[in-house]
Point group: C2
Chain length 307, copies 2
C-alpha cells in the first residue's frame, strides 16, 4: 500500500460496485487516492484498502492532478464537477478529469468545453467489463481524447483496465463506441430472456440449454453472464441494476432519434426495458428480463402455462 | 484411409458445405462411407478422401447400418428416405437414420414414426458450429433419442462433433434445442448489422469497433463470425446462405406461433430476414443483413447518408 510521491494524485468520485474496486486498483498501482461517495459506507469499505476518505468532491479534488468520475450519469458528473463547492475549482492547475460513466456525446462535449474554460482537460473514457472487470483490472476502456492527453494518463488507465482503446480525438468518441456496445448488450440480454423462456415452453432443461448454447453459435457474452443469473433467479441484490440499462438504451435511442437514424431492434428493445421498469423492477438485477418475458408470454418458470 | 470392417457402414446423403467435411471426418475415423449428393462435383470432391460415390440415395443406403442425412430441410430428408428408390427400404435391417438438418419438431416426429413402421430407428441430431466446426469435427450435436440408441452411435457422432448433448428421449428434443440456438443466431446476426451500421453513422472505424466489441460485453459468437464478413463485405460465394436462416427463423416462428407463444424479438427479426430475402439476396451470405440495415437507414458503407 506504499504510495509513490512522484505519481499523480487522484481524486476518485463514485465508489459503487464499479468505482470501489477501480479506486482500490489505483492504490495498488501506487497512486495516492482520495475518494468520495455520497454513501459513507462505501467510503469506509475502501478506506481499509488505502483510499483516503474525503468530505465532499471538492475536498477529494483539492490539489489533485486527476479527477476520476465513476458516477451514474452526466447529471451526477456535472454535479461533481460544477456543483456546490465545485470539484473543478479545487483541482490543481492543468489537471485532467477522466469521465468513466456512460453519458450522451452531447453531455461529454459540453463538459469538455466547460472544463477547458478553466484550463482543465477532459478524457472521455467509458468502460465495459462489469464488476468482474473492475475487480480484476481487466476493463475495456474506450477513450475519446487527443493522443497526447491519453498518452500522459496511460499509467492511470492501465491500473484499472486491460484494453485501452483510443477510439478518436474528439470528446464523445469514447461514448460513441460505448453506445454501440450498450446497444448490443441491451438486445442480447433481452434475446437471452426470450430464448430461455421459449426453452421453458419447449420443456427443455434450463441448465442444459445454458451449456449447449455456451458451446454453440447462439452464444453471447450477455447470455453467458446474465443467462446464468436468469436461471439462478438472482435478482436481488442486483449485480447490475436494470435502471442502468434503461438509462443506457435511452442514451443510445436518444442519439439515434436525434439523428433520425432507425434502430429497429434497438427501438423494440427499449420498449422491453420500459415494460420491465414499469413493473417497478428498476432496482433489481437486469437479468429480471426473464421475468418480464415469462409475464408477457404467460409462461411460468416451470415451463407450464400460467393461464 | 484404411477402413475397419467391424465398423458400421455409413450412407452419407448431402455433401455440401457441412456434409462434405463431416463425411470425410467419418472416413478418417475408420468408417466405410458411401456418399451421395445431387451435385456430381460434390461427390468428386469427397471421393479423393475415400468416400465412395453412389448413384442415388438408395444406392448409398444399400446394406448400410447408418444413414446420415445432412440436407437442407425436412422435405429433402423425406425425399432421401421415402422418395423414388427409397433409401429407407435399402438400409440393413434395424439400421438407424441420423437426421442432422434443422427441421421442425413435427417433421421429426412424423419421420421417426414412418421409419419405426419399417423397423428403423431415428436419431434427431441437428448441429451447431458451422463450416469450421464441420471441418475440425468440433460441431455441437444436439440429440433427441432414447439413451441406448444414442449410446450405440456415439462413435459415429464423435467422429463429427466435439460436444454430443443428450437433450432428451423424445424425437424433436434435439430440434427444440436447435431452435433456441437459431433464434439467438438470427437475432444476434441482425443486431450485429444494426450496431455496425450505427457505428458507421457515428463515424467510428469499423475494424476498431470489431476489436473493441470483441473484448467487451456486447460480444457474441455471431458478431465475431458474421461481423467480420460484414466488414469485409464477403457476401459471395456465401459461407452460409441467407436462405438457411430464413428457413430457420421460419421454423422457430412456426413452432412459436403454433403454440401461440409470443417471441417479440424473434418476430421482428423474422421480418428483417424477409426484407433481405425480398431484395433477392437469399443466395448471398447471411452477413448481407448489413446491406439491408444500410438500405433501411439510408446509411452508406462510408458512414455518409445516402440521401
Amino acid at each position: 500500500m506504499q504510495t509513490d510521491s512522484s505519481q499523480k494524485h487522484i481524486a476518485f468520485i463514485g465508489l459503487g460496485v464499479m468505482g470501489r474496486p477501480m479506486a482500490i486498483n489505483l492504490v495498488r498501482a501506487g497512486f495516492p487516492v482520495r475518494g468520495f461517495d455520497v454513501n459513507p459506507a462505501a467510503m469506509e469499505a475502501v478506506a481499509a484498502f488505502g483510499v483516503t476518505p474525503a468530505a465532499n468532491p471538492a475536498d477529494a479534488a483539492r490539489g489533485a492532478d486527476v479527477l476520476i468520475a465513476m458516477v451514474v450519469n452526466d447529471a451526477q458528473t456535472r454535479d461533481v464537477l460544477f456543483g456546490e463547492g465545485s470539484a473543478a475549482a479545487a483541482l490543481a492547475p492543468n489537471a485532467t478529469v477522466i469521465g468513466m460513466s456512460t453519458m450522451s456525446r452531447a453531455a461529454v462535449i459540453e463538459i469538455t468545453a466547460q472544463l477547458a474554460e478553466r484550463g482543465l482537460r477532459y478524457i472521455d473514457a467509458p468502460v465495459s467489463g462489469g464488476e468482474i472487470g473492475a475487480q480484476q483490472a481487466t476493463l475495456s476502456i474506450m477513450v475519446g481524447a487527443p493522443a497526447e492527453v491519453l498518452e500522459a494518463h496511460l499509467p492511470v488507465l492501465r491500473a484499472m483496465g486491460k484494453n485501452i482503446y483510443h477510439i478518436g480525438e474528439r470528446p464523445g468518441d469514447g461514448q460513441a463506441m460505448k453506445m454501440i456496445n450498450q446497444l448490443l448488450v441491451c438486445i442480447h440480454n433481452a434475446a437471452a430472456a426470450e430464448a430461455l423462456v421459449f426453452a421453458q415452453k419447449l420443456g427443455l432443461d434450463a441448465k442444459l440449454v445454458f451449456e449447449v448454447i455456451g458451446n454453440s453459435a447462439g452464444n453471447s457474452w450477455m447470455f453467458q453472464n446474465r443467462g446464468a443469473r436468469m436461471i439462478e433467479r438472482e435478482f436481488e441484490p442486483p449485480k447490475s441494476a436494470l435502471s442502468i440499462l434503461v438509462k443506457d438504451v435511452g442514451i443510445v435511442m436518444g442519439e439515434a432519434n436525434a439523428a433520425r437514424h432507425p434502430l429497429v431492434l434497438g427501438g423494440l428493445t427499449q420498449q422491453l426495458y420500459h415494460l420491465a421498469a414499469a413493473q417497478g423492477w428498476s432496482h433489481l438485477d437486469d437479468s429480471i428480463l426473464i421475468r418480464l418475458m415469462e409475464m408477457l408470454t404467460g409462461t411460468s418458470a416451470a415451463g407450464q402455462d400460467v393461464s
